[in-house]
Symmetry: D2
């Protein structure tokens, strides 16, 4: 398939959509991003990359990071992790504290904030500090993206910490239900650093290859997670990856994926490729408006959908 041509077409077709979404504005560091950006990268199993737009522009990966910390926590704790966080879909704006209280502090899945906080709490076990735990997450991200230059935007991390009172409420509620081992502030410091990692679409499409390939990096041949865990992560991406638009994404795109409020979306075509798209304007569900459309165009044009 002529992927480069398809990417070029997509770039043209999404252009009229600029201005229809809104950049995340809950922290200044994100609000100041230039809204008229678009980038899309794909990485095949052999490492071949195609891309269009600002594919080397760094952006805040935000909730995309939840995929990587989940991988690490499953490696560290196995299925014991599911005693602390479920795998079932859940409307996000709705569920928040109400569902969490109703269900005794056990979050529905690892991709809503409460669930991702539990995952980070699990990663803190056995480490001496928040800093050390974050270093492990960062090391993993560098490895799967095959790029040691990846780092965080400290301004974003600080800003999240200063404004993240709803996350503090979620973490404190779970702690009151004894579903966190560590102090809520400690967990959030780690969590906010993970969200503040900055990457490019080229790096992220590369980083998804291990999930495309049943848990093993197809280039280095390193086994990063067991095959059944990769499958589980992909299933969770499909059912829970896009907040309250996960059902729409499953239908319109038909690929396992995960979005972040920074404007990025990663997705995989099992056995074929990792994908990342970036466009910071969000739709009303908090997902990249243009990014979602670009992925929909991609699966329509290529026929690469799981349905």
């Amino acid at each position: 398939m002529n992927y480069q041509k398809i990417l070029k077409e997509i770039e043209q077709e999404i252009t009229p959509l600029f201005g229809q979404g809104k950049v995340a504005n809950y922290i200044p560091a994100l609000a100041e991003v230039n809204p008229r950006q678009f980038a899309m990268s794909i990485t095949l199993l052999d490492g071949t990359q195609y891309g269009i737009g600002n594919i080397d522009t760094n952006f805040s990966i935000q909730s995309i990071s939840k995929v990587f910390s989940l991988t690490l926590a499953l490696e560290a704790h196995g299925s014991k992790l599911y005693e602390h966080v479920g795998v079932e879909p859940s409307g996000d704006p709705f569920n928040s504290l109400i569902q969490l209280e109703y269900e005794n502090g056990i979050p529905r899945n690892p991709f809503i904030n409460a669930g991702a906080i539990v995952v980070v709490d699990a990663l803190l076990n056995g480490n001496s500090s928040s800093e050390m735990t974050f270093e492990k997450i960062l090391a993993f991200v560098r490895k799967i993206a095959n790029d040691d230059s990846i780092t965080i935007d400290p301004e974003v991390a600080d800003s999240e910490m200063t404004n993240g009172y709803r996350n503090l409420a979620l973490a404190s509620l779970m702690k009151s239900f004894q579903n966190l081992y560590h102090h809520p502030i400690t967990v959030l410091q780690t969590y906010f650093k993970q969200c503040a990692i900055t990457m490019t679409t080229a790096q992220l499409s590369r980083a998804m290859l291990y999930l495309t390939n049943a848990g093993t990096d197809p280039i280095s041949n390193e086994k990063l997670t067991a095959s059944h865990r990769a499958k589980r992560i992909n299933a969770i991406m499909l059912t829970c990856g896009h907040y309250d638009a996960s059902g729409d994404f499953a239908f319109n795109v038909g690929l396992p994926g995960k979005s972040g409020v920074g404007g990025g979306i990663v997705a995989i075509v099992p056995g074929v490729m990792g994908i990342c798209v970036y466009a910071p304007e969000l739709n009303s569900s908090g997902n990249s408006l243009i990014g979602t459309k670009a992925l929909e165009l991609f699966t329509t044009k290529t026929g690469l959908s799981i349905f």
Copy 2:
């Protein structure tokens, strides 16, 4: 592939699981079913059938009927239906009335009870009576199963009506939000009849072929729904088809499917086959315990999963 041999293996492997679940007991007509039953049928696109166990035993299809009424309502109303019911996953025991009130009477998806009631309400539009609407649903089911002998168990329908106060609460709440056109009692009479249709696994695996084949019956070549609607229904089955175990089903089985408290589960392998399994003992999520396991064994043995 030697499907008959695989079905035979599955039948042996699930035998030790008898007695681990519980037959639905909220109405007498279901509670009296013999728990130690198992049947599994597959129908290929050319009509070839394989089966094991009591494949000609009739059972109450219950929520499996939601798939068929949704198909009809989408044909009748198109995407306008989505003004009255969403397509996003939702924890079922949790959501019920709380979520419905919180979200102003718009149910999350057509497979939770509230959503299925809205779908039936839509089908009542343009018909003169509950009876006439039910006849349309039944005619559709007979057509896709290619069997005019299919009918309902009137005792089950009456029993549901006498005991269905939570469904009456759901319908009345939606009516108070003006999200039902017809009187709650009228809608429920139709809804309970649809749930009381009885079918065999052989019939149901045949009936799923149109969803396996992009909306067109592969044998009669009749187009029953548009391709994009079949895809939408399949996506909803994958994300919402199994109550609070939809995420687990997506992972363990990896196929679009829909379960009913009567003990049946239907599933499809896109482009390949329709499947139905029946075993009346339910797990704690209200899905057939043995049926879920049988489907998991089937995708493991055949490699036919969408992930």
Copy 3:
């Protein structure tokens, strides 16, 4: 005290408030009421009456009727009634279905709609029909008001039945929790008739005397309820009598009272008098705006508050 002079002052002071509230509009029969009406009556223990404004105008007593059916149900069932309905305050718009589901179908108190429905259900026990039960309620109201001409507005009762889907949801939910003996429709038919009784402020202020006088009608000397039950009803009126403005009413007026969306409010000064005020424009909490103000002026001018 010169009560007539005080009532005259109040009538003048509330005049500027006309037009600040809104007449109940959820059913046509109430929406068409003339908004610019005011009446206020007091009845002393010896039967002496004072009044100002349209004291002989009939209006729909609506939720005021809950006081009378509660009295009858407590006589019939004693404290067993509290197994089905609590005595604790509860925000009304909020609680509705969410709280009812959370608390397994047991309403918080007899003055929220769910609680009043349970009370009517209890009254249906031992009677052969909804009609017979309603006749008992009406006979009680006629006795305590000493006026056999009191009747209902059938148009209001019918209109409530046609539009009362939220009440049907509440009743059905309680029935699903087995907290109703009778069918939700039967209970609501009785409940809506009770709400559709029409009375004047003169009649209602007379009707409250038994609660002013520890359960015994001070004129006929008939004991209508035990002293401790009268005290309990008064305590519930104080803490729960005015929906989500019960706390404000307790502070501003400082008397046990009960309002109805028809625009009436009854109140008592223990040992001294029954009071009723009528002005159909409601404030945002659903209580008579001018009626509440008139009662506040009354306790300020007379010093007759329980605090």
Copy 4:
């Protein structure tokens, strides 16, 4: 009236109730209290005191402190305080986070934890530190109890801070709705100190005199709060003073009062006396079981109820 004789009778009548309740056990410092204690004190407007039992034993005043900080916050901010906290009753175990999220971070009243946290936040305004704010609260308590020896139990305060994750969740949620000015941790440090003040029943019955006397200390003649504010505080104590048993307390005792999980209850007879009872075993609603019974016996024996 022979108050001493009445107190003696009450002491005898409550003796059989020892062992029926449970001492608060959510923090070690409270769990270790001797459960078989009872004390009851009354202070008349002229300062005359009567008492029975361990009237000079210090105990943790806990939520009783909410009455005092509310008085100070109303003096400092007047009715502006009501923009941040309501005055309506609310079931406590239920409401917690669910109601708070539903109502955008505005707590129902100042006596549920969320409301009391808002009150402390208001007191922090204009002060340089948590310590300075607490000193003001303590100084006020010492003044109204006329006893400069009153202090806190630092072990209790520390223990609350280490275990108070649900309160941290409440505070963080309100902060996320911008209904707190200060950091949740800062507010809680002050709040937990206030709850850890220890007093005797003799001191607390004396401390309530200003609320008994329309805001003015009847002995020092110092005006501590406006008359209408004292009335408001009393109304809130009546409707919201005892968690989910406020309705029962209003009925059984019939006096404005406030309980704390330390086992104390304060109450007032307007114009007559301040009362405090202490018995650490709690009933299922979290109020002193014996204390509630003692107050009920007191109003029955003296006829001093507001109903």
